[in-house]
Amino acid sequence: MNIYFVIIIGSVFVNNFVLSQFLGICPFLGVSKKTNTALGMGFAVIFVMSIASVFTYLVNNYVLVPLELEYMKTIAFILIIAALVQSVEIVIKKFSPSLYSALGVYLPLITTNCAVLGVALLNIEKSYNLVQSFLNGVFAGVGFTLAIVLLAGVRERIVAKNVPEPFRGFPITLIAAALISMAFSAFSGMFGIV
């Protein structure tokens, strides 16, 4: 039971994907102008990450390892993720148009979100089992969502402020992210998780 708790707290707060592991920075900076869109992106990421964690785990353990093709991991995983994103898009479009209109625009962007490939590779590296991989996928996604929504909240306020010209746009966003990251670094060492 304890390990599950550690994975959950660990991947949301301590090892937050964006703020302490630097995975998924591109959407973190790109899609964080408004809280609503940030939330949409966050949910799409949680969704894809949890499915991708399960699929990559299964493919790695039942196809790549028995055939001794571990060196094909990177190629196999990126193909799985690309195919997965595409099929999720088709399924959602067919069965839930409302969900599609909420998540649709973010889905194609997720293929090149390194957080998704990152979580798949880290699951294997840490030799998590199926349930642990799934939980890690879900809660790493939750951590991503938390970070991106927090940043969006900050950015919505920055827009109304008089920022020095060279800092406008990305630089001030990065500095805001630095402050959020500093706050999150207070979690490090919690429960003895690095």
Binding site: L23, I25, C114, E125, F170, M182
Partner: protein, 217 residues
């Protein structure tokens, strides 16, 4: 024609520097730059992949059907990344460990796919190679620079060599994640400032907040 080629090469280094101007490939930029050497190594790996994938995609641009071009590009890029991974694991194991998960993650580095899509898929081989080299050098220079700043401030050393007694008063925050964001943001602002100076443009105290970002995009 010749100056055109030169432009293609230098474009990625200064005018559309992937790190400071295009803001692409930010994950490795922040993650591996705790040491200058790691930044340099990551830059070299990305340059290799960028050069090879640009050449390959440019050669195959007539063969790849338009509808499946993105998956095809991704497979080509992933192949070269796997080559880099295998070579580095064999010959530079310590660097392989230091770059960790970010080495396979070069696959999803947006610079590479962006150059494949925007440049290599519609330009001749030589130009694509030059573009890949230029972009790669730009990326490497920026990463090494960020790495040097963070290493000096955070660990008091330069490429692993201690600078006097600077190590005693180093500010660890700069090699922590927060310092990465901070240094990157500040350097980007500095680059914006210098670019504006170079263009002889005066900063007007305008009330438009979004002008800068739109101009950049």
């Amino acid at each position: 024609m010749k100056s055109n080629r030169l432009n293609t090469l230098t474009n990625g280094i200064v005018k559309s520097n992937p790190t400071f101007r295009l803001v692409l490939g930010t994950c490795p930029t922040l993650a591996v730059t705790t040491q200058a050497l790691n930044g340099l190594a990551m830059g070299a790996a990305v340059t290799f992949v960028l050069l090879c994938s640009n050449v390959m995609i440019s050669l195959l641009k007539k063969v790849i059907p338009d509808r499946v071009r993105i998956p095809a590009f991704v497979v080509i890029i992933a192949t070269f990344v796997t080559i880099v991974q295998m070579v580095m694991k064999k010959f530079l194991p310590s660097l392989y460990d230091a770059l960790g998960v970010f080495l396979p993650l070069i696959v999803v580095n947006c610079i590479i796919l962006a150059r494949a899509e925007a440049f290599a898929s519609c330009n001749p081989v030589l130009d694509s190679a030059l573009d890949g080299l230029g972009m790669g050098f730009g990326f490497t220079l920026s990463l090494t620079f960020i790495g040097i700043v963070r290493e000096i401030l955070g660990a008091g050393s330069f490429f692993g060599l201690p600078i006097g007694s600077l190590g005693n008063i180093s500010m660890t925050i700069f090699i922590l994640p927060a310092g990465g964001f901070l240094v990157y943001g500040t350097l980007m602002a500095l680059v914006n400032y210098l670019t504006a100076l170079a263009e002889n443009r005066k900063y007007a105290p305008s009330s438009k907040k979004k002008g800068k970002k739109e101009a950049k995009a």
